[in-house]
């Protein structure tokens, strides 16, 4: 049986206020954020504007400002804030006993067998 959640390592590997990247073979690169208030979020690492790498933006509150053209993206919903419109997919994250987990099905596409079973 496959675990529902993917363990991607200890919380200490990302400093608060920073983000890290996680490439997915055959899928979209993921940006994992650690806010200054100690919360974790994950988004597809592509700004809805022109695909800027959100992981490299400045994190403030629970949003990130894209490094390319300063769109502000909500880390909770993936939506562009302010007057801009657009949305980037979010990936559910949980933290347990000092480790970060991503919801597996949101990261890895289901196998054909799993798809059939569903």
């Amino acid at each position: 049986m496959q675990a529902k959640w993917l363990d991607i390592g200890p919380v200490t590997q990302i400093e608060p206020g920073m983000a890290a990247t996680l490439p997915v073979i055959g899928g979209e690169e993921i940006a994992v954020f650690h806010t200054m208030r100690g919360e974790f979020y994950a988004l597809v690492n592509k700004c809805p504007h022109k695909q800027g790498p959100l992981s490299q933006g400045i994190v403030h509150g629970d949003s990130v400002t894209c490094p390319l053209h300063n769109w502000r993206i909500s880390l909770r919903s993936g939506e562009a804030l302010g007057d801009d419109e657009g949305c980037v997919p979010t990936i559910p994250v949980k933290v347990d006993a000092g480790r970060i987990y991503l919801l597996r099905e949101a990261v890895v596409p289901p196998t054909p067998a799993q798809r059939k079973a569903a």
């Binding site: 920073m18 997915v24 196998t111």
Partner: protein, 829 residues
């Protein structure tokens, strides 16, 4: 056998309830059951600790010497006896046999049950470092732990507390009151990060340090050091060693689920229970810190009380159902008031109301969503904590009292209309003090406004109200509104939405009030957001860096990506790299190194830049350190082509080769570049040196341009070849290369100390005027020297190659991927 006989007769008829855990939840559950139906159960409680039930949260005051153990006992031996409860103390349950409905204790005692209640609480989490089992390493959970700490404290010496959360800080406080020298090691950058935001965490840290504790944040424990079979200290990952006679581990707790798990009950993080606290076995219930209810585990007592009520309701036949709890926390350290409740992490549609009163050391933040309070953090003044918490739990609509909400219950509810802050100010008498820092009364502010000061800035400069700490800004604004109605002029542009201060004010106050850290600036200057935004953070980082060279620690997370990664981000998310070529000169070795890098990393393009350097494009973030290592090996350093800093010094060939050249423009350019490189500036900064007025290096559209002439050097400033082309103004003429260098350093420093962040020299010059700049430099014969000296002083700390550090492995976390997710190949088959 010590159960009183009066109950013995009936007991055969009664159901048998066995409780595992003689702690706060276990006993409370029994109390609740007895209150509803004292005759129903025949009760046996097993406790691992050899004592009656006591108030665990009061262990902190016991440690601090504010209470004795007797004072914190909740139920005495008489209580057990009077209620016919058998307490099996000091004998933990080892095993639950669900088939036979029996529990077995360590001493071998078997006890059958009809209903079983698991209330085993939590186990302290022990970080798996070497030395964790040494004598002298203790946790903070029960009275035995407190006794160990007290014994150690009796000897004096050093204590290290690992963990800067609630428990850790309470332990540190107690040990410090008992005379030990205490160091708190905390992994995260702010204390109590789960209850407090950065601002409140910073205030708390400052206060604890003032009381003599050493607080190390961002500190990761490597191992616990031993000497003569006893703990002797703690070594951190960065190599630092802290001596210790006792080490307290307070890094967290874990629901104690071992028993339940081995008995085959459903467990995740905690023992899974439904709304009636029933586990996956209908005859087994669980309550307290060991349970998980609707996905949540709790580590505080308030939720336990609610759980115990529903549990008792269920067992006595009138099920009610537990709905989950919203929790609030307070730190029990005398003299420090901290309160936090609900979800204060913001979120979509959430609005923050922040009040900071630097003079009183108060920080309050209330988070609203859809006109309801969803969270609150209070520091320094927690009197209204319960009121906010109550509004939060009841989900009250606060739109009516919103304006006065942050000022607390008394003010907000001071009768409908009074909630209007303007009305409150209008009611003040004329001699009421508005600005405490400068002693300005309401009458004086109003007079100043009537005399023509129509903006906050005008009031600030004319009567000084709100010009210092700024905590009265709101009051002054109200007075402006009251006195002028609609005529209030919008003030000078503030630094960003998070503050009412302008760039100039923020810079001035950082120096005047000696503010040395970002959270400190935000607190003292009353920032209205908890951690700023993408505009103010880089600006404040720069202002601090400029004000306190060598002292202020650069804040990476407040830097734009280019400066964080020391390369230029391009539209496809790759980076470009420009090594420094002093004065535009290069040689075969450098060219070869660049060519090799281009081939080795498959860079799709190399380009000569406008500043006479070579730009290598298309490098991946993870390859950057390797690219730099190769360039460094050929003696090249970072060109800072990415930074708000000195970019290039462009030169022409000058007297050495050109038939028109009057001076050695190339050689001078190299010298200038070697003096100025590495310096952080408000914006990018470009320099050029031309050998004669033909100006082949285009010195008259640079931030600082030198045009060599027969009789010496013309110095030009404020040029820009960007969006709005601007030719330079002539600053002065000097006779020697030394004077060029001195004036260049002085001008840069003036710009560094005065311009707003992201303001290039051209708009800065136009804003301040050429005359102002000349006056700053020349009115006093000594200023050029003084400015230049300050520049050179700060350069001592700036001139180190950021590439070399990274290439040697520093901050590799900024470049590497966390990992790569590779779905198993079969998944695609």
């Amino acid at each position: 056998m010590n159960a009183p006989t009066s109950f013995d007769k009936a007991s055969a008829l009664r159901e048998k309830l066995v409780v595992i855990g003689n702690g706060m939840a276990g006993c409370r559950a029994v109390e609740e059951i007895l209150a509803r139906d004292p005759e129903r159960f025949d009760i046996t409680i097993f406790g691992a600790e050899p004592r009656v039930n006591y108030n665990r949260i009061m262990l902190s005051p016991v440690l601090a010497g504010e209470k004795t153990f007797d004072e914190i006992v909740l139920n005495t031996a008489e209580w057990y006896a009077e209620n016919g409860i058998e307490l099996v103390g000091g004998d933990p349950v080892d095993h639950i046999d669900r088939e036979r409905q029996t529990v077995v204790s360590r001493s071998g005692r078997a006890e059958p049950y009809d209903k079983l209640l698991i209330a085993t609480g939590s186990d302290p989490f022990i970080i798996p470092v070497a030395g964790r089992d040494l004598p002298g390493v203790v946790t903070f959970r029960d009275l035995d732990d407190v006794d160990k700490m007290l014994a150690a404290a009796g000897q004096g010496g050093n204590a290290v507390v690992i963990g800067g959360g609630l428990l850790g800080l309470e332990a540190a406080h107690g040990l410090s009151l008992r005379g030990m020298k205490v160091t708190v090691i905390h992994l995260m950058p702010t204390l109590m990060e789960r209850q407090l935001d950065e601002a409140a965490g910073w205030l708390l840290k400052t206060e604890l340090e003032r009381r003599g504790q050493t607080i190390l944040t961002g500190a990761d424990t490597q191992e616990i050091i031993e000497k003569d079979g006893h703990v002797a200290g703690v070594r951190l990952k960065d190599g630092q060693e802290i001596p210790a006679d006792i080490v307290v581990m307070a890094v967290g707790i874990r629901p104690s689920t071992m028993l339940a798990k081995t008995a085959g009950l459903d467990c995740e993080r905690g023992v899974m229970v439904d709304d009636h606290m029933v586990t996956s076995d209908a005859n087994v219930l669980a309550v307290g810190e060991c349970v998980q209810h609707r996905g949540l585990c709790y580590g505080l007592v308030a939720p336990l009380w609610e759980m115990c009520r529903s549990l008792a309701d269920h067992l006595t036949g009138t099920p009610s159902g537990y709905q989950g709890s919203v929790t609030s926390t307070k730190l029990k350290v005398s003299g420090i008031d901290v309160f936090s409740a609900g979800d204060f992490s913001g979120g979509d549609g959430a609005e923050d109301i922040v009040m900071r009163d630097a003079a009183r050391g108060v920080y309050k933040r209330v988070v609203l969503k859809d006109d309801k309070i969803v969270g609150a953090v209070l520091y320094g003044d927690t009197a209204d904590g319960n009121w906010y918490f109550d509004l939060l739990k009841k989900a009250e609509d606060i739109s009516e009292i919103r304006d006065g909400l942050i000022f607390g219950q008394a003010f907000a509810l001071g009768g409908g209309a009074n909630a209007d802050p303007n009305a409150a100010v209008a009611a003040l008498s004329d001699d009421a003090e508005i600005c405490g820092c400068n002693g300005v009364s309401k009458g004086k502010v109003v007079d100043t406004i009537r005399a023509g000061a129509c903006s906050l800035d005008a009031v600030r400069s004319q009567c000084k109200a709100s010009a210092s700490c700024g905590s009265c800004t709101g009051l002054v604004e109200s007075l402006l509104a009251l006195t002028l109605g609609d005529e209030v002029q919008a003030g000078a542009k503030t630094l960003c939405k998070c503050t009412s201060f302008t760039h100039d004010d923020a810079r001035r106050l950082i120096v005047e009030k000696e503010l040395r850290a970002m959270p400190q600036v935000m607190q003292e200057l009353h920032w209205t957001t908890p951690d700023g935004c993408a505009s103010c953070r880089p600006a404040l980082n720069y202002y601090l860096l400029c004000a306190w060279p060598g002292e202020y620690e650069d804040d990476q997370k407040s830097r734009f990506v280019n400066e964080r990664l020391h390369a230029n981000i391009q539209k496809d998310g790759t980076y470009s790299v420009v090594p420094r070529m002093w004065g535009g000169l290069t040689n075969p070795r450098e060219l070869r190194a660049i060519a090799d890098v281009v081939e080795k990393y498959d860079a799709p393009m190399v380009k000569v830049t406008g500043g006479q350097r070579l730009d290598i494009f298309g490098i991946k973030k993870e390859d950057l350190p390797a690219v730099w290592a190769d360039l460094n090996a050929a003696g090249m350093v970072s060109g800072h082509a990415y930074g708000k800093s000195l970019r290039t010094v462009k030169t022409c060939v000058g007297s050495e080769w050109c038939r028109f050249g009057t001076q050695d423009s190339t050689g001078l350019g190299v010298k200038i570049e070697q003096m100025t490189w590495g310096s952080w500036m408000p914006h990018k900064f470009k320099i050029a040196v031309s050998g004669c007025p033909r100006n082949c290096a285009e010195a008259t559209i640079k931030d600082f341009g030198v045009v060599c002439v027969d009789s010496g050097y013309e110095l030009h400033i404020g040029g820009n070849g960007g969006i709005k082309v601007r030719a330079t103004d002539l600053l002065c003429k000097v006779g020697t290369e030394e004077e060029v260098m001195e004036h260049c350093a002085a001008f840069i420093q003036l710009y560094r100390e005065d311009a707003h962040y992201l303001e290039r020299t051209a708009p800065w010059l136009e804003r301040k005027g050429l005359e102002w700049i000349k006056a700053q430099m020349f009115d006093d014969p000594d200023t050029v020297r003084r400015l230049a000296a300050r520049f050179r002083q700060s350069q001592k700390f700036m001139q180190n190659d950021p590439w070399a550090k990274r290439a040697s492995g520093d901050r590799s976390d900024l470049h590497q991927h966390l990992a790569t997710i590779r779905p198993a190949l079969t998944e695609y088959a």
